[in-house]
Symmetry: C2
Subunit: 404 residues, 2 copies
């Protein structure tokens, strides 16, 4: 890459900063905001800030109903971040002057037929052994909470602590909050990180600009493994996991098919419906290993609609507003990679914050606090410690260790 340290007029990247954040999704923006709030000069580089998987997401904050067998270590992380969410939302809203749409209304996990009920009840027992706050509801009780549920459902699990945030309002809020504390957002990709004499010295953009900086935070989602200049052992092992997702919309008027998040297992298929106070209902999502493909397909639209209609028949009348696909950053153990390059790695100043997979929005507060603590030299949240890059070096991971 041939470039010049003089700012390129097209991208307007400043010539120097304390920190360059590679990636302007909810993770990158949250980190940038916290770092700038701590007094650092921060530049975020992203060709389309906030418009990647953060934009496509549903915004569920669901550590309990998202818990998976074998991922207990991740649960400590997601619960810790969930606890930070109410305060985080207040802070973002105060800093940005706009609302982010946090709805603390709990989540129902609905079982379709009798087989689905057995599976959900098994998950319920697992959740109880983990000490999670969940309650089993008979079909009638669930339909009292949400009269829009199909009469034929066979029961539901009630998770009063699993909430949601409007991820698009959050992106807008974070961009404003970051701007208010002096973060510069450059709409350009980082081509490669510059490292000299064992330490980060800056970043080069795809437009050929150089930004001098002693710290680089790699928060580029699934593209984090494609950023150049990073020593082999420090490239985070992330891959794109395709998610196709629908956005439906109520017609004008007060009627709502749902008032809280409903997840469901229907005839073995998983679906979720996230209703916003704006009238939007987000329906998701596929999990596909297709490489960097974001093509929405007929088959995925069919399955999402079929499953949603089985659980909430009234969805039928909603406007079909948007159907898109995003790419989650998946790691080998489905947990994020948060932490510094190791001391002996020859890349001092490189901090990694990616691999958040299905939990990027949920984990944004904790990740941002961890990264800010790391960069400013303060103690960070202890739950994050096991989730560094080192766990992949020997083939072991927190999740794998727990399973043994």
């Amino acid at each position: 890459m041939v470039g010049t340290p003089i700012p390129h007029p097209a991208s307007g990247a400043p010539p120097a900063a304390d920190v360059v954040v590679v990636g302007g999704g909810v993770i990158g923006l949250s980190c940038a905001w916290r770092l700038a709030d701590a007094g650092l000069r921060v530049v975020v580089c992203d060709p389309a800030p906030g418009l990647g998987s953060s934009w496509v997401a549903a915004g569920m904050l669901a550590p309990v109903t998202e818990v998976h067998y074998g991922e207990e270590p991740l649960l400590a992380l997601t619960l810790a971040s969930a606890r930070r969410w109410p305060g985080f939302a207040v802070e973002v809203e105060a800093a940005a002057g706009v609302e982010v749409g946090l709805q603390q209304t709990g989540t129902l996990l609905v079982a379709g037929d009798a087989d689905d009920r057995r599976s959900v009840q098994e998950l319920h027992r697992f959740q109880v052994t983990l000490g999670l706050d969940v309650e089993w509801l008979a079909s009638r009780q669930a339909r009292q909470l949400e009269p829009g549920l199909a009469p034929g459902i066979s029961g539901a699990l009630w998770a009063p602590g699993d909430h949601q945030v409007d991820n698009r309002a959050l992106v807008a809020g974070l961009l404003r909050a970051a701007a208010h504390v002096g973060v510069t957002v450059c709409p350009v990709a980082v081509d490669h990180v510059e490292i000299a004499a064992g330490a980060v010295t800056g970043a080069w953009t795809a437009a050929g600009d150089h930004i001098a900086a002693g710290t680089v935070v790699l928060a580029a989602g699934w593209r984090s493994s494609l950023v150049g200049g990073i020593p082999d052992g420090l490239v985070p092992p992330v891959r794109p996991v395709k998610g196709q997702i629908l956005r439906l919309q109520h017609r004008p008027g007060p009627v709502r098919v749902l008032t809280r998040t409903v997840r469901a297992l229907v005839q073995g298929s998983v679906v979720y419906l996230v209703p916003r106070t704006t009238g939007e209902v987000v329906v998701g999502a596929t999990m596909e290993e297709m490489g960097p493909d974001t093509t929405p397909t007929a088959g995925a639209a069919y399955e999402l609609l079929r499953n949603a209609l089985r659980v909430v028949p009234g969805v039928s009348e909603l406007e079909f507003a948007e159907f898109t696909a995003g790419l989650r950053p998946g790691s080998p153990d489905n947990a994020p990679v948060i932490g510094p390059a190791a001391a002996a790695s020859g890349a001092d100043g490189l901090v990694i914050a990616t691999g958040h997979h299905r939990n990027g929005v949920l984990l944004a507060p904790l990740t941002a606090d961890a990264v800010a603590a790391l960069v400013t030299g303060h103690p960070g949240p202890p739950e994050v410690a096991p989730f560094g890059l080192a766990r992949f070096a020997g083939g072991a991971s927190p999740a794998a260790a727990a399973a043994h």
Copy 2:
């Protein structure tokens, strides 16, 4: 409406013409092109030329598989226009210098289960009594023609004379052909027709321009009944009939799920799939009496996808490219209204060409020839004679007469 005969800069309507055509869909544009080609000065007014139901349509030219019980008089009309289509396409392409995508590859009407087969075979018997060119195929024979059909189909009706045209390429071609013979297309609605001393004297646009003209052709689709200035008895009885329709798209490559139009009756539901050589597959369409509502709904998307996947499972992998709704101009007997205002009506020079419902693209050649003949004082296609406005005056219609 306050206006001025001086052309308004926003719309650029010329101050005078021989003919004002109200509506720039396939009907209005075809009429305008024929009239200008005959030497007349023609102005077409439409706020969004070509972007109404002509744009949303699928482009099927299907008099045989579209035949309905009790609509035999309409059949004579649709067959007559179908015969004109090959020549019409050649003429539009020669005049426009672009292709319109006429594919003369026939149509299969597929039966899903045994009940569907009984219904399709009943239709087949009806078609045979009408002398139509149709052939019954066993499931195996149908799948030899189209290997993408689901193995479980129970048979199919083969209509070798039902074809398709790329309706969007047609719109583009008609706009160019019309421009080449001097038609002026003004992107503005007509507010009202001006009538004085028993005859049309021009039209006033929504921008306040006056266009002097001795002839007005009312071809505004379902909005034709909303155009002002027309004496009560001459307002065409048309209403919007909502159609929701999907556009899917093959990925790059030579593989195609279908090579010809497939219509189907699957578990009592009707669906069609129209494959283009461009890789597009149009899947339609709902028929809904919802007034002027063009909101695409979740329920309609679900049903179209479900039905399409039952007939052609490979559709699953196609890109979900577009989902929209259009408004067909429906008349009381589902047949078009083509003809002059009656001699004693007090609106000499008013010509009506609307109400084409599902058959606008198919009937464009015949309608344009009929309107051009009418305006220039030549004999027109005889099949059109029964389809004037007069049939609604006494409550009788060609379709109703045939049913008695």
